[in-house]
Subunit: 355 residues, 2 copies
């Protein structure tokens, strides 16, 4: 059994403005420590997936930066989609490319921009999921054991009976709930967070795409036939242009009868906003996370990032300050999700150089 990885790295991450820009989104930033998020995502596969088996699916404006950040990967493993079409086409494209190399491959599908605390345990779970996917022909999801009634994540409900230690059949996928529902999910004990990480055989996922997304399957066949041809890019662009934007959850996982989950207990976050980054950052005794030349006076529980010039914050609590060479964000931590509105404003004003 050869394990391959598909790392999905096409997001724009506008909630991380002004650090993130369309050509330099969250997954390409050093949010925690010395590595970018995609570098961490690749690094934590060491010993589990060989470099030549790691594929990155990105887009055309980010592909060069991705290559520069991951020089250890074969250049041909960095694939740029002509258009963003959500995760189902992305995974389908990667699958037909990997199928050509190894029809028996088991693939691990990972977002490029998640945080994982216990890498050793993460790899154990992924290996176990790969083994089970290989033997059972199931679609494996990684369900994260929740520690709070989070409303920012989707949930997965599982059947109580274990098919193997830590592995259960999935009964339902649930969208992001409201707080009351999230509390109910947490109390029930049979709902886990949907991490968006999957493990399956190439043959299994392509079979399920054939069954539940026949249009996509047809398109993927056409792409497969064009692989290696001189006009591959042209054909890919033409076909991709016609594809519907559908997530793998909506297109496959919610319909398939062979979905399993493995419980993830390794510490995980999708790092969804500056608020999450604040939560996950080291703080000083006043609860401030400071990066760069920063002075805090009578200021608490705040995240201050200012690598390029001196910043002083006085008399404030629970704020986020992101000071970059060409733009500044000052935001209430409670409004971290509204950062997207700044990017909307900038696009509306056609200030594309800042988005």
């Amino acid at each position: 059994m050869n394990i391959y990885a598909v790392i999905m790295a096409g997001g724009v991450g506008s909630r991380f403005w002004p650090r993130s820009r369309k050509e330099n989104p969250k997954q390409l930033l050093k949010i925690f420590g010395e590595n970018t998020m995609i570098q961490d995502t690749v690094a934590r596969l060491k010993g589990l997936v060989k470099d030549e088996n790691i594929f990155i699916i990105t887009n055309r404006i980010q592909a060069l930066r991705v290559r520069n950040q991951l020089p250890q990967l074969p250049a041909e493993n960095i694939i740029d989609e002509p258009f963003g079409k959500n995760t189902a086409p992305c995974i389908g494209l990667a699958s037909v490319i990997i199928k050509q190399r190894d029809p028996d491959a088991v693939t691990v599908v990972l977002p490029a921009d998640h945080l994982i605390v216990d890498v050793k345990k993460f790899k154990e779970r992924i290996r176990q999921a790969a083994d089970y996917a290989y033997e059972s022909g199931g679609l494996m999801t990684i369900g994260i054991i929740p520690d709070r009634p989070e409303t920012g994540y989707g949930y997965i409900q599982f059947e109580s009976e274990e098919v193997e230690p830590g592995i259960h059949k999935v009964s339902t996928f649930a969208e992001k709930p409201n707080l009351a529902t999230a509390k109910r999910f947490l109390a029930s004990g049979d709902f886990l967070w949907n991490s968006g990480m999957f493990v399956w055989k190439i043959s299994t996922i392509l079979d399920e795409i054939k069954k539940y997304m026949p249009d996509l399957f047809e398109a993927l066949n056409e792409i497969e036939r064009a692989l290696g041809k001189d006009d591959f890019d042209k054909i890919l662009t033409r076909i991709y242009g016609q594809l519907a934007k559908i997530s793998i959850d909506y297109g496959i996982m919610e319909h398939s009868k062979k979905v399993f989950l493995i419980k993830g207990d390794f510490g995980w976050s999708d790092v969804g906003s500056w608020e999450t980054v604040y939560q996950l950052s080291e703080k000083d005794e006043d609860g401030n996370a400071k990066f760069g030349d920063v002075y805090c006076g009578k200021t608490k529980n705040s995240y201050i990032y200012s690598l390029n010039k001196f910043s002083a914050v006085v008399g404030l609590e629970n704020i986020i300050v992101i000071n970059t060479p060409d733009a500044l964000l000052v935001c209430n931590r409670e409004n971290a999700q509204d950062v997207k509105s700044v990017v909307d404003y900038l696009n509306m004003k056609k200030k594309y150089e800042l988005t």
Copy 2:
């Protein structure tokens, strides 16, 4: 009667950091509109004091900028003190210089960095004060009719009897009061704000200095004898080095028996902090005063200054953001007085390029 003006412009204004710096303090900044504060101070004397009769007392690191901002004034009218020694030596120095030109001069002493709303009324009051100072040989102060129990200003108590319409003898000077005392002052009706603006004959103030500050008077005599000599600067520096730092209020006004006040009803502020600037600025419907390329989302009652790059403020109320090319301030409006602590911190860290 010839009216002269002495504009005191030596302050460092660290409460206006990061816009104000030691070589470019508040009085040299465009805080309101298109003119700097010192330009406004000079402009509002038009028709009252001739340009050649206007003197600026500043310091050596600011003198060149003052000259550049006030090209209409004779260069020799811009006098740089070798050291800041508070207002008594400053006024004394200006007085001996003006005395040489016109021993009968009446001088108006004005801080360079105050805001006055009704310039016409201001000039009427100053003219009336000048007339009374000329006739009576009194020291005239301008007392501002208070509209709130402000704790940031000193107060002047006056005798109820008018010596002339709007002019009263002064009984007491009071330091900045606490809130209870300020309320009592306001209720009493016989306390006005001490604006730090004065009008008197040169001969009167020098007589009073002789009487109440004999050491200063002695030093001023020595300076007077050196006026016009080649080594004047050297002598001035030597003498100034030995002077005590004493305010005119403490040194003279609180002791003199011939102090009067004229009621000022022209709208006045000493513009003491960014909070005051916010209060005095035009606001949009959300109560925000915005300068430069600024986006406010779910943000109210804030002052945002960002001329050099784009700034976005999201989900906040009552904050001050001052974004300059080399430093950023984010401050709660309630902590506007604490901005000084940032400058203290920068000096402590020897980051003099930012102070």
